[in-house]
């Protein structure tokens, strides 16, 4: 009687609205929400303005009442990792935001400063900023307006200290959700992927399914926990705790469409300024997870930040697998049938 079978159109990859990979225009409507459901929301984490303060980590833990843990995820434990200023280590059941710190350096030749009339000097920027009259402070200046850090010359070395706040990607094609046998993991009306604590039975199927290694079981509890994008706050029109705390708006929350547009603009601005290595991660809807609800602007290869370079939804090959299974099953059935047939003979 179950509706989920290898015969489902979705699992054959033929149902436009119900696929396991590729772009999905309305991931929320696709999951059965009425047409007037809210727009899909997400995070755009612009690591180029992250100051590594970890306010996101604390604001998340305060709101979601998560336990203290060490870099291994051990509850009520402390530990110095030695990985620069990162002592959180990784995302896990007790850490739903994780700020990575990457120290890089290289030798440079310092250019001689140009000395000349005002305006020609190094360090002088054209008078492009508006005169100080007294406009209202923008309610929320976007980082798209903000400039970039890049390499900072430090004496004869160029040092770059990359900081990036990682989080659950709230994938368009979320393998954790697809493999969840209890319906604990579900797609919310905001298009986000959330674990329902009252349903989860701790089977743990979702843990290996996640291509980013985000979702994790709490050791003393067995159930899995991860970022909910503050689902409860969203229902009341609030921002997620991390985004509302972030001092420099490195973490931006909003409608995914708007965030994507802002990210594209930001990337273009950085590239125009010659910022090396700037790229978007999780923005591409044709990538292995159909694009992420939480995506990033990075300044180096994803691996540098501990992110998989080419994540693929682990259920992508499920239809093919089911087809093989189906063929196998048919063959078995055929053999059994032939056996009977043979017996009849």
């Amino acid at each position: 009687m179950t509706a989920i079978s290898s015969a489902s159109a979705a699992f054959r990859g033929q149902d436009r609205g119900n696929r396991l990979f590729g772009p999905v225009p309305d991931v929320t409507g696709d999951r059965g929400y009425a047409d007037d459901h809210p727009a899909r929301v997400g995070f755009f984490t612009d690591t180029s303005v992250c100051i590594g303060c970890k306010a996101c980590e604390v604001a998340c833990k305060e709101w979601n009442l998560l336990p203290m843990d060490d870099a291994e995820g051990t509850v009520d434990a402390l530990g110095l990792t030695g990985a620069s200023y990162d002592n959180t280590g990784m995302l896990g059941a007790n850490s739903w935001r994780h700020v990575a710190f990457v120290e890089q350096s290289r030798a440079v030749d310092l250019p001689m400063p140009t000395v000349g009339p005002p305006g020609a000097a190094d360090g002088q920027r054209p008078l492009e900023d508006p005169p100080v009259v007294h406009p209202q402070v923008p309610a929320s200046a976007t980082t798209a307006e903000q400039s970039a850090p890049s390499q900072t010359a430090s004496g004869d070395r160029e040092i770059r200290w990359l900081m990036s706040s990682d989080v659950c990607k709230h994938c368009t094609h979320a393998a954790c959700l697809d493999v969840c046998p209890t319906g604990s993991l579900f797609r919310t009306e905001f298009g986000t992927v959330v674990v329902q604590e009252d349903i989860c039975n701790g089977c743990g199927y979702c843990v290996p399914a996640c291509p980013y290694g985000v979702i994790d079981q709490r050791q003393d509890d067995g159930r899995v926990f991860k970022c909910t994008l503050c689902y409860d706050r969203l229902t009341d029109g609030l921002q997620p705790a991390c985004a509302s705390a972030c001092p420099t708006e490195s973490i931006q929350f909003g409608d995914l469409d708007a965030l994507q547009a802002r990210a594209d603009q930001r990337l273009a601005a950085l590239q125009e300024k010659g910022v090396e290595g700037a790229r978007l991660y999780g923005r591409d809807e044709t990538d292995g997870v159909g694009g992420a609800g939480a995506f990033f602007l990075l300044l180096d290869e994803p691996e540098v930040y501990g992110l998989p370079p080419d994540p693929v939804v682990t259920t992508r090959d499920l239809p093919a697998m089911w087809r093989s299974v189906g063929a196998g099953a048919a063959m078995v059935l055929g053999l059994i049938a032939s056996a009977f047939v043979g017996r009849r003979r």
């Binding site: 002592n87 120290e103 004869d156």
Partner: protein, 874 residues
Amino acid sequence: MAEAHPVGFQWVMEAKARGATVIHVDPRFTRTSALADLHVPLRAGSDIAFLGGLINYVLQHEKEFREYVVAYTNAAAILREDFQDTEDLDGLFSGYDPEKGQYDETTWQYEGVEVTAAAGQRQSPKPGASGASVGAESGEDSDAEEHEQGASEQSGSGGPPVGGKPRRDETLQHPRCVFQVLKRHYARYTPEMVHEVCGVEPQLFLKVAEALTSNSGRERTSAFVYSVGWTHHTVGVQYIRAASVLQALLGNMGRPGGGILALRGHASIQGSTDIPTLYNILPGYIPMPSAREDASLDDFVAEAAGSVGYWGNMKKYAVSLLKAWWGEAAQPGNDFCFDYLPRLTGDHSSYQTVAQQIQGTVPGYFLVGENPAVGHANAKMARLGLANLEWLVVRDLQLIESATFWANAPEIETGELATEEIGTEVFFLPAAAHVEKDGSFTNTQRLLQWHSQAVEPPGDCRSDLWFYFHLGRMIREKLAGSTDPRDRPVLDLTWDYPTHGPVDEPSAHGVLREISGTGPDGTAVDGYTALQDDGSTSCGCWIYSGVFADEVNQANRKKPHTEQDLVAAEWGWAWPMNRRILYNRASADPDGKPWSERKKYVYWDEDAGRWSGPDVPDFQATKRPDHVPPEGAEAEDALGGTDPFIMQGDGKAWLFVPAGLADGPMPTHYEPAESPVPNPLYSRQANPSRKELRGAWNRANPAMSDAFPFVVTTYRLTEHHTAGGMSRTLEYLAELQPEFFCEVSPQLAAERGLEHLGWATLVSTRSAIEARVLVTERMRPLRVAGREVHQIGLPYHWGRNGITTGDSANDLLGVVMDPNVHIQESKVATCDIRPGRRPRGPALVDFVEGYRRRAGVETGLLGRNGRAPIEERS
């Protein structure tokens, strides 16, 4: 700034987005450096050489904002003929007394004009036209406890009064005009010298100089932002002075986008100075009276009375304060109870008190939200002080190390103290948190912001307002009926604050109203200009006067910024008079016109006949820019229309300080008290006026000692707060920085065999501590004076209690102080570092004593219960 003030840093990011160049000058590459355009690593303790280099660059390349400098600074003032510079005297200014280690300021004066130190700065030399030196006066001084007071704080929020207008040369050519004197003083601070002293490559230095000067002037302004580490030097005040000189030369003061912004580290540390719990000042920077000179109220205000600028009204402020404290008892006939004020006889600042505690002469001590057992430089000295009290009251949220020292101080482990021998009686009283009480904090930009009580404090937790009100009430009840005249100041005190709620909490609104002041009819005054010296007005802190204007708690104004302009004048209340940029008359030219449209702020509106703009003018609102004060005018009336710096005795920004500083009229590079290298500029190694305090509990590492070859600097991490009482005790913060560590360069690690994540032992003449090692390229050795200098970074948050524990960085540091404000040099010292953990128990004492012997330093072994005499003070 990103490290210690992350939310404030959002504005730096916005400025950067609008085209600002962000330069970070710091020994370490920090989270701030990561977002800056340029990081300039320099040797800790060499900032005056760096800033002096910039001053020299400005003067040599004529990059000063000439019109501003001529009109608004004392550049044109002509100095006395007998002034001699450090360039003439190899690191000393004229007037130095080597016996006392102090200066006589007489020769620093303007020619023919008497500039006196502010009222209350009585133990600094009091020069006059006669040239009378302080020597004779000091001869009377036989009190063994006598020390010079903190001088610059004694001058209040402005400079010392000036007795008249100095002779000026507005062409700035006169060889003895301040401008030329300054130019000669800094002539040797070349890019090459900066390289030699600071370890900053000339190309990098020139980049900074270019960026700064090309972004200053009529159309543009630059700001200096420092965290108060700048004050943690034996030349701390002169650090700030050097930035002031530079900013005044560049015309960056009193203008939007300019200034020198002190990022203070505690919620109301500004308020704690304005309404001081400091020994040498009364509310509003009125000095505490001194035993020697302040026999009467008129003596007390004599020097201020008749002088130029707002300090000329000091009697009004002082009388109104005395009325606020002693009410009806304060009458003209009894000098408004001026005799009730206790008198100072010298330096009674914190470290002096600790040294006295170790002698057993200070029986009682209150620690109120402060943890000196971790947070004081030479924290061991602080703990020894605690162990030699009779009684101690600790008020805090958590059981901090200063409350539990008798059980778990490191000295118990080493055997230097024993629990059973410590006679200190300890009362730990739990405190209310910020959400459990009403009150105002004054933030780092002088903004008073009210926080409202949300819940009742749990259990025995009480606000400090509750504690002091009820303690005072109980003492008054116990003393009631006393005929002892000594008890009159207590019994006559106005102490009738209304209380409310289940625990009889006194009204914080009522206290703020008393601070703001009331007029003859008992209603709240609008501001300090309403205060009188006849006893008809009352005001607890004149600079806060007006915070309760119109009977409204102005600090509690919370109009959303989205409904206001950029100045947001209706959010909170800034002293004085809700002015957001100080000295903002300087944002207009001498004629009162904006210097430029881009930098328009406060300007003269001819039609309206007043100063106008988005901010409250920091000037008499209707005083014309061409106003010339009449002969004999006093106080603010003696300021002309082009004198923007209204708290200064002459209305000008001072490039040269003719009176009021203990260690020189111009900033000069001296090496830190503990330095591995000689001073390349002068044979004077360190600040000759620095304050020492020596005993077995506070030894000094000798300069250029082979035993202590490395520079160490201390700092905060974003994830923790100061001595850790409010962060090491919280799970979500403890887990983020879970262990005490030191940061070292790969080169130092290789040289000393230190392993990443291994242990290191750091040693000084005070103690030895252990820390985990982080090897990082963010720390880098510098080439200084022909050799490689290694710097070690130490966050200072750790102690024995809390969720994350570790040795205290402050145990390593000694106490040696700035002579003006008596703040310790905790941002730079020397040490040794070696791999492995430190010795345990009594072996630690022997280990450190061995280092002292090798360095040729006196013994650090202590007597019974940690006692040892004070050997030397200066």
